[in-house]
């Protein structure tokens, strides 16, 4: 029987929630949490579960990788699974970073699953197999099933088809491959060319990935003459959250007046707190300047490094927020900044 090892974060590894997202990497010689589901479906035994907090990987990626590769050094395994990470950005990042390192070090197939909105997809789809997954853990069974079906094909030595047919995100790796009907490349190329000339639809065999980069804005010549604004996706809001910004999957943003303060007062002082559901709020609630550094900006204003700190800071929540919503909110905020003559922005994210 083949052997498999599964990687899970602190939540799916049943350690706990955001308060233990700093959990150090560990390996257990048994099936924990979601690893049991893999074991039921897989044509292999799940021998170990690796668990690590998402923040640990986020902040100390190199150490996390070193320690996990160390755990695996003396283990025998034929395949490695990470996730599914759904729409959780930090978990997707962790699955990708760990998965890529395991693939490179041990040369075993590594399979993960993430929602298409998870930034981990674009970061790691070239390195490991990532299947498109659901938005939340409600899709656990479906997502694991997809991963395992493909894993079983690999374990059983079945012929693997191109990414589009197997269903994982295209890795951009080219294989020598003969079409079942054996149409040679020159005929396909001429067919495509004719279609293109006739303005007909055709599908390229070598798609060029679209990169939506933005032109780098010109630098500011003299900060001491301009207004700089603070924007955050860290969910800092007045304690009554007047704009009712959602704690996750946000579609709303707010702007909060700070022209009369030298720093952000905290939750206990009934001023500001975080409503972000994607990280432990304790540190931000105690001192919101850790997320929106009004105090430091005020000091730079006082010493004349910047002309002025803009009278509002802008805030929303960046967890589970779709890229489409984020873009729309960004456009709306930008419109206001332009109107008010703000010339530069510091955006803090958590």
């Amino acid at each position: 029987m083949s052997k498999a090892i599964v990687y899970l974060n602190q939540f799916f590894g049943q350690i706990g929630g955001e308060d233990v997202a700093d959990h150090e990497p560990e390996i257990r010689d048994k099936k924990v949490g979601a690893a049991m589901l893999y074991d039921q479906l897989l044509d292999a035994d799940v021998t170990h579960t690796i668990i690590c907090g998402d923040n640990f990987v986020g902040s100390k990626e190199e150490e996390a990788i070193d320690r996990i590769l160390g755990f695996l050094e003396d283990k025998e395994f034929d395949i490695f699974f990470a996730g599914p990470a759904f729409q959780a950005g930090r978990y997707g990042n962790a699955c990708g970073a760990i998965g890529k390192a395991v693939k490179e070090e041990f040369d075993v197939p590594v399979i993960s699953s993430m929602n298409e909105e998870n930034p981990g997809v674009d970061m790691y789809k070239k390195d490991i197999y990532i299947f498109p997954g659901g938005q939340s853990a409600a899709k656990m069974k479906d997502d694991v099933t997809k991963m395992v079906e493909f894993g079983n094909k690999i374990l059983n030595g079945e012929k693997l088809l191109p990414a589009e047919e197997e269903g994982y995100f295209i890795r951009g790796i080219r294989h020598q491959y003969f079409l079942p009907d054996e149409t040679p490349a020159y005929e396909r190329a001429i067919d495509m060319l004719l279609k293109k000339i006739n303005n007909e639809e055709y599908v390229s065999e070598l798609p060029i990935p679209e990169l939506d980069t933005v032109k780098i804005a010109d630098p500011i010549e003299d900060l001491s003459k301009i207004t700089v604004a603070l924007v955050t996706s860290g969910g800092i809001v007045p304690i009554d959250n007047p704009d009712r910004i959602q704690s996750a999957s946000a579609t709303r943003w707010g702007k909060y007046y700070i022209d009369d303060v030298d720093q952000l007062q905290n939750r206990r002082q009934e001023a500001f707190k975080t409503i972000h559901a994607g990280y432990d709020p304790a540190a931000a609630d105690t001192d919101p300047n850790r997320v929106v550094p009004v105090d430091a900006m005020r000091k730079y204003e006082e010493v004349g490094k910047i002309g002025k700190l803009y009278k509002y800071f802008y805030s929303t929540v960046g967890t589970g927020t779709t890229q489409g919503e984020a873009a729309r909110m960004g456009q709306e905020i930008t419109e206001e900044l332009l109107e008010d003559g703000v010339q530069a922005v510091i955006l803090t994210s958590t």
Binding site: G89, I216, N289, A296, A344, L347, S349
Partner: protein, 79 residues
């Protein structure tokens, strides 16, 4: 969000812990922070240390806004 701000020609610097994510979403100027729940001040250190770190990194971010860059750039921090 960072892309929409920059698209309008306003230079923006993103302060983030997950720099690879910031790169993927298309930030051009980036300054690392120390963690996700406390980007600019570790509660287990003294107030003074937190202030020094925050003042320094925000300063790096401000300098980044005045720096001419050719490609996505992560600016170095000292503390």
């Amino acid at each position: 969000m960072v892309k929409e701000i920059e698209r309008a020609g306003i230079p923006v610097v993103q302060m983030a812990n997950l720099i690879p994510v910031a790169k993927t979403v298309g930030a051009n100027r980036m300054v690392p922070t120390i963690s996700i729940p406390y980007p600019l001040g570790d509660p287990s250190t003294s107030e003074e240390e937190q202030w020094k770190l925050r003042y320094h990194r925000v300063g790096v971010a401000l300098d980044a806004l005045t720096t001419d860059i050719e490609e996505q750039t992560v600016f170095d921090v000292e503390i």
